[in-house]
């Protein structure tokens, strides 16, 4: 089965530091991975997509990497702010290319 796993423990960091969240997958490498942000009481919001042939993708303070050898994606938020506090979800595309499977999400808490 195609599993995707995120650290279920909350990540607590100090404002200004870099937050790094991990997403690990099993079996074959998906064509791409997506990262979403979810705030309490709201639906997920798309942040970034990284393709299998891309090592790194950036958007403002966000950076995502994709390591097909380690079967892992890392999500970085530089110069973190309390407003970055949320749950971050990664998702992989299935083999047929028509369905996303989400990880359990990692809650990030940025303290002022």
């Amino acid at each position: 089965s195609q599993k995707i796993e995120q650290n279920s423990e909350a990540l607590n960091i100090q404002e200004g530091k870099t937050a790094t969240l991990t997403c690990n997958y099993t079996n074959y490498s998906p064509a791409y991975l997506q990262w979403y942000r979810q705030d309490p009481g709201r639906g997920p919001v798309f942040l970034l997509l990284i393709r299998e042939n891309e090592k790194e993708k950036r958007k403002e303070r966000l950076k995502v990497t994709f390591d097909t050898t380690l079967k892992q994606s890392l999500f970085h938020i530089t110069a973190s702010q309390p407003a970055d506090s949320a749950t971050y979800l990664c998702a992989r595309l299935n083999n047929a290319g028509n369905m996303l499977t989400f990880g359990g999400g990692t809650r990030l808490m940025v303290k002022p």
């Binding site: 995120q6 279920s8 997506q34 639906g43 997509l49 998702a91 028509n98 369905m99 989400f102 359990g104």
Partner: protein, 114 residues
């Protein structure tokens, strides 16, 4: 641009009762998804529509769950009868196309089954 609309936002029912959720996707989006998100977990896909046809419903508990998208726009998800383990947030999402496209999520309906 209006986002994905869902109603109701909250629903409390007793087990064995029926419940229905409504979703209006972003205008022009051909693909519509229903997800179930249990507290502390990621969203789990229940059913996916392409226009008014079902693309995938392999994870939909068909003995109690049903969904339709009759005119290829709005969609309803029904649970009949509800069980305690159905307590979750039901999220609707839409995208312009299947697969690679970004999905846009609604705010969800929080269901509590007592």
């Amino acid at each position: 641009e209006a986002g994905v609309a869902q109603s109701p936002r909250y629903k409390i029912i007793e087990k064995r009762q029926s419940v229905a959720f409504w979703c209006n996707p972003i205008s022009g989006h051909a693909t519509l998804y229903w997800y179930q998100q249990i507290l502390g977990q990621g969203p789990k896909l229940l059913i996916q529509f392409q226009n008014n046809g079902v693309v995938d419903d392999s994870q939909l508990p068909k003995d109690r769950f049903s969904a339709e998208r009759l005119k290829g726009v709005d969609s309803t998800l029904k649970i009949q009868p509800a069980k305690l383990e159905d307590s979750a947030v039901y999220l609707c999402a839409s995208s312009m196309r299947r697969g690679a496209d970004t999905q846009y999520f609604g705010p969800g309906t929080r269901l509590t089954v007592l």
